[in-house]
């Protein structure tokens, strides 16, 4: 056999060899990804209790789901959470990244510190923050007292923050629908922003460093001030990065679970259910109370639809404004 034959043989289509290389990963992906994802869809039409399929129920579970006020309130809570985390996290991390990008001395150190919470487990982070938010002995109420403020109940406060602000202004009445997220949920939002910021900062920094210096210098020579440089040069050139950060933060925020599980309650989701988010609702239905897994699958599918449509929607809206 000449070398040419050998080469030809090795380059030819060889589905059997390829299959051998693909089998280890392929089997796992099929059994533990594809099948579960497909089954989530199918299971939502079946009555499943404690891992046993009891019968086909059609759309009945969706019907029950849409009539459950807890489901709707958990959706509302999750929306508050996402609307709280995403814009603030985006703004703060972009702000810090722009500051860090000004050729500061010790950039490596700053980046390391901002990124530190990302490496720390969410369980530990939640425990530490729960202690910081302690109504009587917590660090945060201590700082408030130093600033001359009264102490707050933080994770044990079911009242909405807008309602509390109105109360602070002396208004005795405030519409129920506009109470806003509970202070407890705001506390969880703070923790999530704190923990995720470093990641976004690193992504933004990389994006900023990809903008060539020439553009800045050209703008300066044309007499642009800092604000103009930011809005006319940095912001448009950074838009792909911003879009990515926006999308990934939104998707991750919709799946919040660990912080809620560890920081709120008992019972989890408290006070008065104001921090019960959709994934915790799913967990509770599927694994806690009687293990109603068909029902939980219906919740999972709704969650998936929301995340998917938000992804597509954001892509639609932002794509036109993203400068590539």
């Amino acid at each position: 056999m000449t070398w040419l034959d050998r080469l030809k043989r090795k380059k030819a289509m060889d589905p059997v060899t390829a299959a051998l290389y693909l089998v280890p990963a392929g089997v796992i992906v099929v059994v533990f990804r594809m099948v579960p994802i497909a089954s989530a869809f199918i299971l939502s039409f079946f009555d499943v209790k404690m891992g046993r399929i009891r019968g086909f129920v059609g759309l009945a579970q969706y019907g029950r789901l849409f009539q459950d006020p807890t489901f709707w309130s958990s959706l509302g809570t999750t929306s508050y959470y996402v609307l709280g985390v995403v814009p603030i996290s985006l703004f703060l991390s972009l702000f810090i990244a722009v500051l860090l990008n000004q050729k500061l001395k010790g950039l490596g150190f700053y980046r390391t510190v901002y990124f530190l919470p990302v490496v720390t487990s969410l369980v530990a982070v939640s425990m530490v923050w729960k202690w910081i938010f302690h109504p009587r002995l917590g660090l945060l109420n201590y700082f408030l007292s130093l600033l001359g403020g009264g102490s707050l109940q933080w994770l044990e406060e079911p009242r909405g923050i807008f309602e509390m602000m109105a109360g602070g202004l002396g208004w005795s009445w405030w519409p129920d629908g506009l109470a806003g997220p509970s202070l407890a949920l705001v506390a969880v939002i703070v923790v999530s922003i704190w923990r995720g910021m470093g990641y976004n900062i690193v992504i933004f920094l990389a994006g900023l460093q990809n903008i060539p210096d020439q553009y800045y210098e050209a703008a300066r020579i044309d007499g642009a001030n800092n604000r103009q440089v930011f809005w006319k040069v940095t912001w448009p050139l950074l838009s792909p990065t911003t879009f990515y950060v926006l999308l990934s933060t939104t998707i991750v925020s919709f799946q919040v679970f660990t912080q809620i599980y560890l920081m709120t309650g008992p019972p989890v989701g408290g006070p008065m259910g104001t921090t019960k988010v959709i994934v915790y609702y799913l967990f509770e239905k599927g694994f806690d109370a009687g293990g109603n897994m068909g029902y939980a699958s219906a919740v999972a599918l709704i969650l998936f639809m929301i995340i998917l449509s938000l992804t597509l929607l954001q892509r639609r809206i932002v794509e036109r404004r993203v400068y590539y």
Partner: protein, 368 residues
């Protein structure tokens, strides 16, 4: 996400895009710049201030965790809180000091009411009330007292050794599994021709977009059917194929020139030999990234093991820590000690290899 991208400098006289030339810096420009720089100097202080406020906010929870973890159960209750754990000592006779708890202070009278701590080795707790005595303030001395015993106590109050072992065991297997399955699959996707290759690859990638909570319920049922619930397999097997790692490796494999492959084959190298001897050694950086985000991801994963395990024999550290936190209730010093020793390995590793870790985790997020 490469750092240190060479920044193109456009100095005076450089040609800008569009063919315009920058003006050479004249002396007049320099004078204008001097005023500009002075204003920027002030701005620069503001920049540092803002950055440092952020740094403090990032650090304080960690400091507070360590500080709390070294306090006595009594000191936890003091408000305003102390930053440096402090023990109180009472001089009984000349140069004979015993440790006491301070019950209350009477600033006006200059006296302190204290209780002796029975014995240093005794488990934490409030001492008997009969020991209470009021003494002159000058007889009580405050010294830094770090209660490392909290760590031992927390460690012994739950099977943390077991939890630790479980997490390390699972992590090792997952990392090894991911490396093997991803290299093989990425090699097939990058180098081999077979029917439907690109479609299968796209299908794999689309799986990556589905969030874990969506498929956790059916996964549970499948693990029940396979008899894997509450075993190490439940924590290892589903995670030894990692789609994003396959993607990363495939992208990198594609950059390795075809000529190299041809040359190796002509020299009698087998397909697998080429992967093992040429491709993998050339992909060290990517493999390191894969190892890092797999370790961090497995170490910190929570929802999956929470659902899939229910006995301490296989329970990993994060779930054990969460249970400990829910059981302890008010022993904040023990909870903080447990939190501290649970994050310690990753934090220590982070300080040694922060650049690689930041890069790896930043890459692992870049899925879309």
């Amino acid at each position: 996400m490469r750092e240190g991208t060479p920044r193109r400098k456009a100095g005076p006289g450089a040609v800008l895009p569009g063919g315009r030339e920058t003006r050479p810096v004249s002396s007049r420009d320099r004078d204008e710049n001097a005023g500009f720089r002075a204003r920027r100097g002030l701005g620069r202080a503001g920049v540092y201030l803002a950055v440092w406020i952020g740094i403090v906010i990032m650090i304080v929870p960690f400091v507070w965790m360590i500080s709390t973890s070294l306090k006595s159960p009594i000191e936890i209750l003091s408000f305003p809180p102390t930053w440096i754990p402090t023990g109180h000592y009472l001089e009984v006779t000349e140069d004979q000091w015993i440790e006491v708890y301070v019950v209350s202070r009477d600033e006006a009278a200059g006296t302190v009411t204290v209780q002796p701590v029975e014995s240093v080795d005794e488990p934490a707790g409030v001492p008997a009330a009969e020991g209470e005595m009021t003494v002159d303030e000058s007889r009580v001395d405050d010294r830094i007292r770090l209660r490392f015993r909290n760590y031992v106590e927390a460690w012994n109050q739950a099977p943390f050794a077991r939890y630790y072992f479980n997490t390390i065991f699972v992590t090792l297997f997952v990392v090894a599994g991911v490396l093997v399955t991803s290299s093989l699959a990425a090699y097939a996707f990058a180098r081999m021709k077979f029917w439907g290759r690109d479609n299968i690859f796209v299908l794999f990638l689309s799986m990556m977009m589905v969030p874990q909570p969506v498929y956790i319920v059916p996964s549970y049922i499948i693990l029940v059917k396979l008899g894997m619930i509450d075993t190490y397999q439940a924590l290892i097997v589903p995670w030894i194929a990692h789609i994003f790692s396959i993607f990363l490796l495939r992208q990198h494999f594609k950059t390795i020139p075809n000529d190299l492959y041809d040359a190796a084959i002509i020299d009698g190298c087998s397909r697998f030999g080429f992967l093992w001897r040429v491709m993998l050694p050339l992909s060290k950086a990517v493999l390191v990234a894969v190892v890092i985000f797999t370790i961090v991801g497995t170490w910190n994963s929570f929802l999956w093991p929470l659902v899939m395990t229910n006995t301490p024999e296989v329970r990993p550290l994060q779930v054990g820590l969460a249970r400990f936190s829910q059981e302890q209730g008010t022993n904040h010093e023990l909870m903080m000690a447990a939190a501290a020793f649970s994050i310690a390995p990753l934090i220590v590793a982070y300080f040694f290899a922060q650049k690689q870790i930041i890069q790896s985790l930043a890459t692992s997020g870049m899925k879309s």
